[in-house]
Symmetry: C2
Subunit: 169 residues, 2 copies
């Protein structure tokens, strides 16, 4: 059963997964097609007087197209037995693969956004994009440039207001 | 006594203060002069494979000049009895006021950065800027524009790698 909770309730498990295999970001295109991708980076807190989850998406990703179309996403924190799914969703693109079907994921309808939740995950942040900023090479340290941008493909940073957080009870 | 800790140890008190009076950001200019300002917004998590604290500073702020000079800052989480100091440090500018002296704040030398810690605070994030991004009006929702940027003065977003976190024991 999924119940409403606060960031504090799920911060530890969120951060542990960011440092481990990653989190699962779901989004939906204007055609209603869902996609899921693995993210290893994310920031949470408060910006523009709102609770915010920031995610970074490269323009070459299929998810980028969907976020640009609908400006919504859900961040799902995987359970411990989802390592293979998390790895798979970071390897193949939603342009060529229906990852949700291929991994047998059950979706739950969102409460505040159209992006679905992944039932087997343990926590879910429903977010609506309220602002974006661009990563540009001139504003990065040489270390970040050398480790994260050897092929360019600079992220867009999406700041999503957190409309609700759900966790398993 | 200040001891090393993890983000998880101090996330709750950090978020509670962001939602309350704010946090105290210390920085130092190239001339060695310290300053402290109150921030109500901040994000923590993982970006570019590093633990990161993001802070937002407007170009008109004195802190903006210092961050541009030295690319370092420390975020201090105030104790419950520091409300007046937090309010004061959000009202006056370091250009005209030595807020540290006026509020009788005791500084502790940083361990990894030159920016000092404020002794009476309960937790401290030492950060070095590894990337920045610009807030531009074209990438904001009308709600954010209308509530946070009625006078323009668009923030620079500073992403600081968290080099250490200290808390009271």
């Amino acid at each position: 059963m999924k119940v409403e909770c606060s960031i504090e309730d799920v911060f530890d498990v969120t951060k542990r997964n960011l440092e481990g295999g990653g989190l699962l970001l779901t989004s939906v295109g204007s055609d209603g097609q869902n996609n899921v991708m693995t993210i290893g980076w994310g920031l949470v807190g408060r910006l523009w007087s709102k609770p915010v989850f920031m995610v970074a998406v490269r323009p070459t990703r299929h998810t980028f197209k969907l976020l640009e179309e609908t400006n919504e996403f859900t961040v799902n924190v995987p359970s411990d037995d989802m390592d293979e799914t998390v790895a798979y969703c970071g390897k193949v693109s939603g342009r060529d693969h229906d990852k949700i079907q291929e991994r047998g994921l059950t979706l739950l309808s969102g409460k505040n956004v159209v992006s679905p939740m992944i039932e087997s995950c343990v926590a879910h942040y429903e977010c609506k994009v309220i602002g974006k900023s661009m990563v540009v090479p001139e504003l990065l340290s040489s270390d970040v440039l050398g480790t994260s941008y050897t092929s360019g493909d600079y992220h867009t940073l999406y700041y999503g207001i957190i409309l609700s957080i759900l966790m398993n009870r």
